[in-house]
Every structure is written in C-alpha cells, then in structure tokens.
Amino acid sequence: MAKIEDRFLLHALEFESVLRACLYRYTRNTSDVDELLQETYARLLVAGSTAQPNVRSMRAFCLTVARNVALDWLRHRQIVPIELVADMEALDVLDEGAQIEEIVNAHQELSLLAGAVEQLPTRCRQVFTLRKVYGYSQKEIAERLQISENTVEQHLTKAARRCAQVLFESPRTAHQDNGMFARLRRRMKNYDESA
C-alpha cells in the first residue's frame, strides 16, 4: 500500500506538531500554518518521487522543506526574514532531542481517538462508532440509523477530518508551544557563545 515516494510525507506525519511549530515561527497565525503545511507535504511528495541522494536525517530534511516553504511565503509577502534563517542547524539538533516524546503508542492513540469521538455531534459520533468500532458499511449504517447514505457520507467525512486532527495535529500542542520558547532561547544562547 505505502509507496516509496510517500516515505517523506508518512514520516513527517509523525511529527506534524513540530512542523507546525516550525511554520508558526514564521507565520504567527494558524490558518497560514495550515496552508504552508499542506504545501510542505506536497513538496515532500514531489521530493519522494524524484531520485534523492541519501538523506541523512529524514526529520531534518522534512524541517528544511518546511522552512523553505515558509521562506518562499515570506519572500512573497516581502517580509524579509532575518536571524531565523541564520542558524537553523542548531535548531535541528535540538529538535532531534524531542523525538522520543512524540512516539505515541497504540494505547495512547486509542484514548486520543476515543476522546475525540466523544466530542463529535451525536449523529456524527454514532455513524463513526458503527463504522470504525463495529465495521458497519455505509449502507448498513444508513439502514440502522434511518438516515440517507449521503448523510452517512457527510458524517464520516467530518469524522475523518477530526481523526487526522487529533492524531497528527493536536496531541501535544500545549507544551509544544512552551518548548518552542525554550528551544529558541537555548538556540540564541548557543549562537551568542559561538559568536
């Protein structure tokens, strides 16, 4: 199922929150982050389909692509980014350190998802539960709940987006943000010492 050219994107999904934090440093607002993240993923797919020299660290590579997307965007808006461009290497090293906490085990994933399901609107939650917990087909769900198949589709669409959000985007947002400050501070300290 998984194709070789998808490898960068599939890897990047595992630390989407880090990519988001990285992009946020340039945009300072979340809707632009959504745009730039999708563009980053698109570029990762393109990168995956062309022959690549050995990528030493997948993670560093993904972050570099994200930063290039952000820099293009800033350039386009004619805001000249300075400093952030200057010493990304140091940041990569620090980002590597954060890797361990991002490995979410299956049990955590289960609680994340179940928590998200609870928050869904009632009908949407029921449709999703029948589909994913009990493996009903869309047709069977429509019959059981006395709703149209079209409505079932709409509910599942909504639920699918929520799944992606909870699995990739939100889990560690809160402390991620604080970590961002800590990392930036450390980075600046390193730089000052080396300067």
């Binding site: 959504d34 563009e39 797919l45 965007w73 609870e118 029948l130 699918a160």
Partner: protein, 356 residues
C-alpha cells in the same frame, strides 16, 4: 513552487475537505469510474495527493477503535457517548472496562452535597489564611523597591505570591498593607501575574494612571506620566476606578492624558516575549525594531538610510545582542554596520546602505 502556492492560497481547508469526501466515497464505491475520477483529482496537484495521504493514514489508524467492540454484545452506536455511566450490560470484559475507564474524562461523580462541603472547607481555609495575613501584614507594610538596569530582566515573587517580571530599565516600589497591595511603577515596563484577593485589591500606579486588577495577568508600560500602555493577557483590569474602563484579556489600552484608547490584540505572546528574554518581530520596520533594541542596550542602533529603515523584518532575537541583529541586517539587506563613538558616551552601531 511559489506560483503554485499563489494559485492555491487559502485553500488548505477546501482541499482537506475534498480529500475526506473522496476517502469516504471510494471506501464504499469501488466502481472503476470512481477510481478513475479520484486518480484524476489526485493527479491535479501534489497538494491533493498530500491531503489524501494524510487523511487516509489517519482513517486507517482509527481502526484501532475496533478493540473496543465486544463480540458478545449487540453493536451500540452510543458506546462512546460522553457521560455515559458504564453498565454491566454494555461492558463485560474487564480489559474493555479498564480501557474505557482510561478513555473517559473523569465523570463528575461527586454528589452535590459533598461539593458544597468541599467548597465550605475551602472557604473556611481561605478565611483563615486571609485572617492570618491581616494579622501579620504589618510585616509587609514597609515599602520595597525593585529595579533593573538597561538590558536586565528580573522576576520577583511578592509576599502574596503574585509575580512581577521587570523588563529593561525599570523601577517599581511595592507597598502592601492589610487593605491593599500597591505597586508603583516609577519607570519602565513590568508584567504582573496577580493572585486575586478582593479584600486586598492589587493596584498598579503608573504616572497618573492607576490599574486595578480584577484577577489577572497584565503588562503595564510607563512611557511618561501621561502615557501608559496596559496589555491584558488574562482576566480583566479596570483603569482609574471608579471609571468603567475595563480592559479584558487580549486587549490593550493606551492611556494618553485624559483619553483611553482600547484595542484588541491577537499576538500577546509576541508582545510579552520579553518575559522570555526575547524580542519577536513580525513585519515591523527596521526602524521600529531598532527602537525596540535601543530600550535594552546602551549601545544604540542608528539607521542612517531612510529607505532601509522602512524595510520590514521578522524573526526572534536576543534583546541583549544588538550586534547579532546588526550582523543579520548586514547579511539580509546588504547593509553595512559600523561601530562608532556615539553621542551619549557609549558607542553606537550605525547601519547604512552597503557599498558591496
């Protein structure tokens, strides 16, 4: 790439929605036409494929929820309903039971009477603490002065547990009595995280302005006795009571003489980044950024070229290192930085249009 981004700006949400719709569609409809149509959609732009891959990966992972199904029980669409008391009928296996217990947010199983009891206990404790504080508060009645030099930061915890962060070149005097907690901002800028206590209001006096806390975190900057900026991060403050000049979270009030101008701010973290020893710019002009740096350093930055001073920048900086900032400007703008003897005795960094 940039061109592609132009074309598709503000569409991440639309693409994700379409990707989710395709996912749900092909899941139940394996007709060759559908597959072909999907293939065409995917081929239209890498962002389509990226969004589809992301959402279908999430969808597949959601199959982990199958573990919650109990083969001995009738499928229950409300299995994951919030606030649903677990019953012996719906949950039989202890494993599932444990899983569900871990998954649910803690139910408010505390009965009403015990909540009241708990509240009463807390209230009694609070009265005791407040009482004790009133008795011993004479100790704190003496004024204490805190100050920072240019480029210095300081965090002080006050006797009541409130925390004050002093920005560069700031001086304040703290005087607590049993009836009020008063902080006089003599110079500069400070952020207050106040432990709320109605019996002993927290007041920040800055020039001709008094800011009363109504349980909150806020920043006060004294520019001169008649102009004070108040930025509220949490809760609410009131300016010069008994006026009704309330300022709430994510709002800023600019007090200029007798007028107060209020406005919403959406970048509080950036504006209070100095509490993290950082300056964050996002589209400010070079001259604005230089002025900000000059608050933190004796070695001032002077931009000699008018056109250059209007250039906008973004980035995070160490406020104590105007040299690093100057170097970055040199690199990015092809500017030239020169350290010269300044007017005020300290040296200054002159940024001019480069000749190289």
């Amino acid at each position: 790439m940039t061109r592609a981004h132009d074309q598709l700006s503000r569409t991440a949400d639309t693409i994700e929605q379409e990707a989710a719709e395709w996912l749900v569609k092909v899941e139940q409809d394996g007709a060759p036409e559908t597959s072909r149509a999907l293939a065409a959609w995917l081929a239209a732009h890498p962002r389509h494929r990226a969004a589809f891959l992301r959402i279908s990966t999430a969808w597949r992972r959601a199959d982990v929820l199958k573990r919650l199904a109990d083969p001995n029980e009738e499928p229950d669409p409300d299995l994951l309903a919030p606030e649903r008391p677990p019953t012996a009928e719906s949950i039989t296996e202890p494993v599932v039971q444990a899983a569900l217990a871990a998954l649910r947010p803690p139910r408010s199983s505390v009965s009403a009477p015990s909540q009241v009891r708990r509240f009463a206990m807390a209230a009694a404790l609070l009265v005791a603490i407040v009482g004790a504080f009133a008795i011993f508060s004479d100790r704190f009645a003496s004024a204490e002065t805190y100050a920072t030099a240019v480029g210095e930061f300081r965090r002080v915890t006050l006797p009541d547990g409130s925390v004050v962060a002093l920005n560069t070149d700031t001086q304040l005097r703290v005087s607590f009595s049993s009836s009020r907690r008063k902080v006089e901002l003599i110079r500069g800028e400070a952020k207050f995280e106040v432990v709320h206590d109605e019996k002993q209001p927290f007041v920040v006096a800055a020039g001709e302005t008094a800011v009363y806390d109504v349980g909150t975190a806020f920043v006060v900057r004294l520019r001169d006795p008649k102009s004070v900026d108040v930025l509220v991060e949490e809760g609410r403050v009131v300016i010069n009571p008994p006026s009704e000049n309330f300022v709430s979270a994510d709002e800023m009030a600019l007090v200029r003489g007798n007028t107060i101008q209020r406005r919403a701010v959406d970048d509080i973290r950036r504006r209070t980044a100095w509490t993290e020893h950082m300056l964050i710019f996002s589209g400010e002009t070079l001259s604005e950024a230089a002025a900000e740096f000059n608050r933190y350093n004796r070695r001032h930055i002077v931009i000699t070229d008018a056109a250059m001073s209007r250039q906008t920048i973004g980035g995070a900086f160490n406020p104590n290192s105007p040299e690093r900032f100057a170097t970055a400007v040199e690199k990015m703008f092809g500017a030239r930085a020169q350290v010269t003897a300044g007017t005020s005795g300290s040296s200054e960094i002159r940024l001019s249009r480069g000749t190289h």
